[in-house]
């Protein structure tokens, strides 16, 4: 089965991470950017799977009695 060109290059975060590593930036700036990339991946997943709509199990057991 033919592999699509994007898959060879990696996902957008991996591609961007390589660009950051290649770019002339201070180590601290690179580290800050990569931290943002990781957080962006998390948020991207949360939005795609609508994770913010998932209730923790503990909520289902709450009884408002007091």
């Amino acid at each position: 089965m033919p592999t699509e060109p994007e898959s060879k290059a990696g996902n957008p975060s991996e591609i961007f991470t390589k660009k950051v590593e290649e770019k002339e930036l201070s180590a601290e700036t690179k580290s800050q950017i990569l931290e943002h990339v990781m957080e962006i991946d998390e948020l991207e997943r949360s939005i795609s799977f609508m994770e913010y709509r998932v209730f923790p199990e503990s909520l289902k057991r709450l009884v408002f009695t007091v």
Partner: protein
């Protein structure tokens, strides 16, 4: 054939100067409550303090009052008891003017319009219905919210409405929201919280306003099982609370709350958009030297529900500057709630204190969690503020067309904010980096009113914008740097989540737009953000000021 007694019922009116005739005396002498229980009630102290705060000078006590909500509870439950209470209540009216019985009677008989206007209509502070029950005597209560100016914060009460009151033919109006305490028969705390919320949504979304026992019955109607009897009611769980909201034709937006900052953001976003929020919280009692769960609360199960109806915003900026994602809601220093355990407009204070709640994995120690201060009495130490809330969940009763939840918008903006910060570092952009976001619910007509009044928008643009057919519900997102607005982004709140839902963008800062254009024109950055439909939408629409 027996005939009906030929008697006419009468209303007895008493007028007293306040606080000479104080709130404990009113309760002792005019409710049928047991003296022992009345003395223990926090409501007694709370209303005494509240009457002083809103400057009550005269009270008018009206007996033989028929309260629709109590009548429903009475007809469906109490009347069938062996020792049924009377169906008549007493109504306590509060005024900020001073007058005596002679002046009041004279004004009524002589139709003294000036006295009535100056001393009654303009000075009316609301009423409390006293139910003829042994313990839960505080019935439907509509009082003005406390509005005195403060140097430390400003108070906002978006969830109040007008109530028309008739006292011996005099039309009085009160702007507030109805409150009542639970009787643990027809209603528990969640029922009382729903009942207050429905008093607002019933007007804004035009649905029937159910009495407490009707709310409890509505849950049974939806087939949601009670572990115990439905009536007498010991409480509702989350599915039951949702079923009660569905029963009046609304949807329940259920939002788990991670911490007090999360609570500030959720509550602010919905309250500013005139949607009441029911807060579910665990309770922790403070004891000398440490915190622990009091015996009557199961830390894993028992919770309390209150209706959030307002908020207090700090006069100083208290937003933590180190946060990557900052919102204006973080300047909230308190919430105002109808808490049936305390009273109307009671304070929930954001004071950054932690309490031990759950056990750790090996159950050797309790995990500390962030909490908020309350005005509750403790079980062990009967002083105000002994019990703290650990917020768990917010439930917003919303119109069915309001589909995009707050969290859906917040996550989109968090993502955009991160990409903007990341791209700024990558491209060495230094302007407009200290951004604070303001996210709240609004309405198409309100947005048009704001556009119309905005002097920063040109005439030609106003003409164009006012002709846009906006959806009824909108999420407004504004970015600020200091006091300067950078951009307004408007989301269609009636839209579904997996689509582009920005309907309007208004740029207020040219340098911010230039930053976005610079990011768009860099292929490394644009290839990165295009992976996400919502981020791509924001970059495209801010770059072009949508609609162009």
């Amino acid at each position: 054939m027996p005939s009906r007694p030929n008697s006419i019922k009468t209303i007895k009116i008493e007028i007293h100067s306040y606080p000479q005739y104080d709130f404990p005396s009113i309760l002792e002498e005019h409710s049928s409550g047991d003296s022992y229980y009345l003395k223990k009630k926090l409501h007694r102290k709370y209303f005494e303090d509240y009457f002083a705060a809103i400057d009550v000078k005269t009270i008018v006590i009206e007996d033989n009052y028929i309260d629709r909500d109590f009548l429903e509870d009475y007809s469906k439950y109490y009347v069938k008891s062996y020792s049924d209470p009377l169906k008549y209540c007493k109504r306590i009216h509060a005024f900020s003017s001073s007058f005596n019985e002679k002046q009041f009677t004279s004004a009524l008989i002589n139709n003294d319009a000036e006295f009535i206007k100056q001393n009654l209509v303009e000075k009316y502070l609301g009423f409390i219905v006293l139910k003829p029950l042994p313990e839960a005597v505080i019935g439907r209560t509509c009082l003005v919210p406390y509005k005195k100016l403060s140097d430390s914060h400003s108070r906002y009460y978006p969830i109040i409405r007008n109530y028309e009151v008739n006292l011996l033919g005099i039309e009085l109006t009160i702007e507030g929201l109805a409150f009542q305490e639970q009787d643990t028969v027809a209603a528990a705390c969640a029922t009382s919280a729903l009942w207050s919320a429905f008093h607002y949504t019933g007007i804004s979304f035009q649905h029937p306003i159910l009495s407490p026992i009707e709310i409890t019955e509505s849950v049974v109607k939806h087939g949601v099982a009670f572990n115990e009897r439905a009536v007498p009611s010991k409480g509702l769980d989350l599915p039951q609370l949702i079923a009660a909201i569905n029963d009046v034709g609304l949807e329940a937006e259920v939002i788990p709350v991670e911490n007090p900052t999360d609570l500030k953001r959720i509550a602010y976003a919905y309250l500013k958009g005139s949607i009441p929020v029911i807060l579910g919280a665990k309770l922790i009692e403070k004891l000398p030297g440490n915190f622990r769960n009091p015996t009557q609360f199961d830390p894993d199960m028992d919770a309390h529900a209150v209706t959030l109806i307002g908020f207090g915003v700090s006069s100083k900026n208290v937003i933590a500057s180190a946060n990557v994602f900052k919102t204006k809601a973080e300047n909230l220093i308190r919430l105002y709630a109808h808490d049936d355990g305390v009273g109307p407009y009671s304070r929930l204070v954001f004071d950054d204190k932690k309490v031990p709640l759950s056990y750790n994995a090996d159950r050797t120690a309790r995990v500390e969690v962030e909490s908020i201060g309350t005005s509750w009495y403790g079980k062990y130490i009967r002083e105000v503020g002994q019990v703290r809330f650990v917020p768990q969940v917010c439930i917003a009763p919303v119109y069915h067309k309001l589909r995009l939840p707050y969290k859906g918008v917040e996550e989109r903006i968090k993502l955009f904010n991160r990409i903007y910060r990341m791209a700024s570092l990558f491209l060495n952009i230094t302007s407009n980096q200290d951004i604070t976001w303001d996210i709240f619910l609004s309405y198409g007509n309100l947005l048009k009113e704001e556009i119309r009044k905005d002097r920063g928008i040109s005439e030609d643009k106003k003409k164009k914008l006012l002709k846009i057919l906006f959806p009824r519900f909108l999420w407004i997102v504004q970015a600020y740097e200091g006091d300067g607005k950078l951009v307004t982004i408007v989301y269609d709140a009636t839209s579904f989540e997996r689509c582009q839902n920005v309907v309007f963008v208004n740029i207020s800062s040219e340098s911010f737009q230039q930053n976005i254009i610079q990011m768009q024109s860099n292929t490394d950055v644009s290839n990165f953000y295009k992976q996400n439909i919502s981020a791509n939408e924001l970059f495209e629409k801010i770059g072009t000021q949508f609609p162009a």
